[in-house]
Amino acid sequence: MKKLNDLEYLKLSKFKAFLYNVKLFFCSIPGWFVKLGLSIWALIKNCAFVIRDEFADIGRTFIKGNWAVKLSFLIFGLGNLYYGQIMRGILFLLFEIAFIVYMFIIPDGGLHDIKLAHLFQNGKTIGDKAGGYGVDPNDKYGAEIWLEGDESTRVLLWALIAVIFIIAFIYTWRLQVKQCRICMDITASGKKIKSGKDDLKSLLDDQFHKTLLTPSIIGITAFTIIPTVFMMIIAFTNFDAAHDGYGTLYSWVGFENFKELTNFGQGGMGAAFSSILGWNLIWAVFATFSNYFLGMMVAIMINKKGIKIKKFWRTVLVMTIAIPQFVSLLYVSKLFAADGILGRLFLNWNLIPQSMLDAYQRGFWENPTTAKILLIVINIWIGIPYVMLMATGILMNIPQDLYESARVDGASGVQQFTKITLPYMLFVTGPYLLTSFVGNLNNFNVIYLLSGGGPPNTSISYAGGVDIGHTDLLITWLFKMTAESASSQYYMASVIGILMFLVVSILSLIVYNVIPSTKNEEDFG
């Protein structure tokens, strides 16, 4: 497609300019993929270079090093000890001893767990022998008791930890070899090598980030990274209530669960997933943008010159943030129920079109369309205060002379809004829009506490062992699947989790590449 220069572009009529922009957008999509490909290729190339350099460095260290350095390839920390870094040397040595003891020496150690888990071998169970009732070997009358067996979840978790331990081992090995090289270099140049005391001191100075980050990193590793990786692995097993990993072990099934997503029959995963995802996206778009624009309008109204008791209006709205959400959500949901005060009112005044109601659909929550509309409206009630607060802060930052010069040029109020306020807001709040969009995609509280996902959607119901409703989001579906269904299809929840992850990350990737305000982190400081 031919690209126009500025002069040509300005000559176009408004409509043509719009068409031109749309075309430009779609024509640039192939370019993105090319760019993506190129950046992946660059990444691979970089990796190759890094690996080559690493090996070259290791080799040089081995050849140039003295006996202590050479031996430290086998015994961790020997090089550090030789050069007088007692503390580091001892820490490295202790790590190696701990690794060897854990992996090889103690019975049922790391290596045993990895073997027992049969990692990714299709058809094999995780763990060899399930627990079950059997004859007590220590009882001379042969009483029946529960005999402990392998527990799949435990085996898999320990295997995962062992794998992480191995990766850490390789990393530490490389680290201490590198430190030997650094020590060699420093001695060669005749400088003094850092002592353990210097190391400790630098933890509050040059290495301060390590001190500050260590607790967080430990927390994140233990409670986010390991569980996330674990749950992603579950997508390749058949972990559910029937294979709970305790009485019955669960086993590896490969991509079986992902294939289930192409089942578009009645109650099939494919049909359920696509229909829920559709509503989920619609919901997120409406919830985000309705709040955004209405909240901005409210902020502008309150900030307008000549409006009095500004603080009062703001406090009224802030009340909804202050009161715990579940209280207001549960109460409002009952207000609109078929026999709630407002629900009854609307019915009596015939404010809901009769065509939407049949004998079984008496209230707002019993009809898919009214339920969806009501959800979005109530979400506006919840969301406006947040946007109002944020927008108020930003509006105050817009340089006032912009408006003044616009007024001198005869711009109307609407024009001032579309030409100054809106572009400025969109520019500054790009990241906020993205996070609130993602937040709305996974807005569990609003949906679950208001409609509970209902009314039931019979055409896709019972996919994943759950009664799916018309207003269920993926996250509420997932919650019902794991916490409220008898069959607890964890493997399917995991598959859906991975897909949600893909949807969110692709959306974020696109948005981050399009909006301007995220690119230059340092510009704002």
Binding site: P215, I217, I220, I234, V318, L389, T429, V438, A493
Partner: protein, 293 residues
């Protein structure tokens, strides 16, 4: 000449009237909004004073005022225990979350080190996987350690806090706004990075510290999803949200509806009071953080 003057006068009068019209409309909108926004809260308070139980639709204004629901709450249910659980979680979550979030955001904002960008990207990506799913594993582990059911408050505090460092965005935005030249000046004077953190930046960071504490305190009051899963229905480990939701299930509704309102008032009053008292800091946090991202 004369003509010109009168048109100027006319247009200024026109502008004035159009402004008053606009302001009147705005006032009307704001008043309507106030009614809509306050209606549920007045409704809850009014219905909580109804004597005895009632069906939902009959009346908003109590037929007879009384404290029966409140009395019933403390004599017939373990409400005090649930309230205590939630408050306990609120206090400790505020404490630990503040530590994790501030250390993470301060480091990412003001210190430059190898792997900083990588760390930020990793946390961004990890945050996109639905966090609820990880609870399946965490619950199994907690079950073995005895941190579910009646010990759920302790388990939940760990869940809320352990990876809260990933929510560094708002406070990083705040730290980004403090001028870097302060650090540099202190460093030139021989301060270590710890001293810069402790003596230079922290005294300037009161708003964001209070904001983080406030958010941490509020989180357990509003959490429903994680709490319900970890608590497992044990009445001794309940937080208020999960328990009060069960009161509104279909077959219990008519018995418990007014009691729900009473409980809602008791929960909402202290939390709202704390929040409104610290409103200023909340607003600063929201406006600063959202813009910075």
């Amino acid at each position: 000449m004369k003509n010109e003057k009168s048109t100027i006068k006319k247009s200024s009068i026109g502008a004035k009237t159009s402004r008053t019209v606009a302001n009147t409309i705005i006032y009307i909108v704001l008043v309507v909004m106030t009614v809509v926004w306050m209606f549920p809260f007045f409704g809850i308070v009014l219905e909580s004073f109804e004597v005895g139980t009632k069906a939902m639709d009959s009346n908003l204004w109590p037929i007879e005022f009384g404290f029966d629901n409140y009395i019933r709450l403390f004599t017939e249910t373990k409400f005090l225990k649930w309230f205590g659980n939630t408050a306990f979680m609120g206090v400790f979550t505020a404490l630990f979350q503040t530590f994790f979030i501030l250390s993470m955001s301060y480091t990412l904002s003001r210190l430059r080190f190898k792997g900083r960008k990588g760390l930020m990207n990793m946390m961004l990506i990890m945050g996109m996987f639905p966090g609820f799913l990880t609870l399946i594993l965490i619950k199994k582990v907690f079950w073995d350690l005895g941190l579910t059911d009646d010990m759920a408050p302790v388990g939940l505090i760990i869940v809320y806090c352990a990876s809260s460092g990933m929510g560094y965005y708002v406070s990083k935005g705040f730290f980004d706004t403090i001028s870097k030249s302060l650090d540099e000046a202190a460093r030139v004077d021989g301060a270590t990075r710890w001293q810069v953190f402790y003596k230079v930046i922290m005294p300037l960071s009161k708003p964001i510290v209070i904001y983080t504490i406030l958010m941490g305190f509020m989180a357990p009051w509003g959490d429903f999803m994680m709490a319900k899963y970890i608590i497992n229905g044990d009445p001794n480990g309940m937080n208020v949200a999960v328990m009060m939701q069960t009161w509104l299930s279909k077959n219990l509704l008519n018995d418990n509806y007014t009691m729900f309102c009473a409980a809602a008032v008791i929960v909402a009053v202290p939390v709202t009071a704390v929040f409104l008292a610290l409103q200023k800091y909340y607003v600063e946090g929201v406006t600063g953080g959202a813009v910075k991202g």
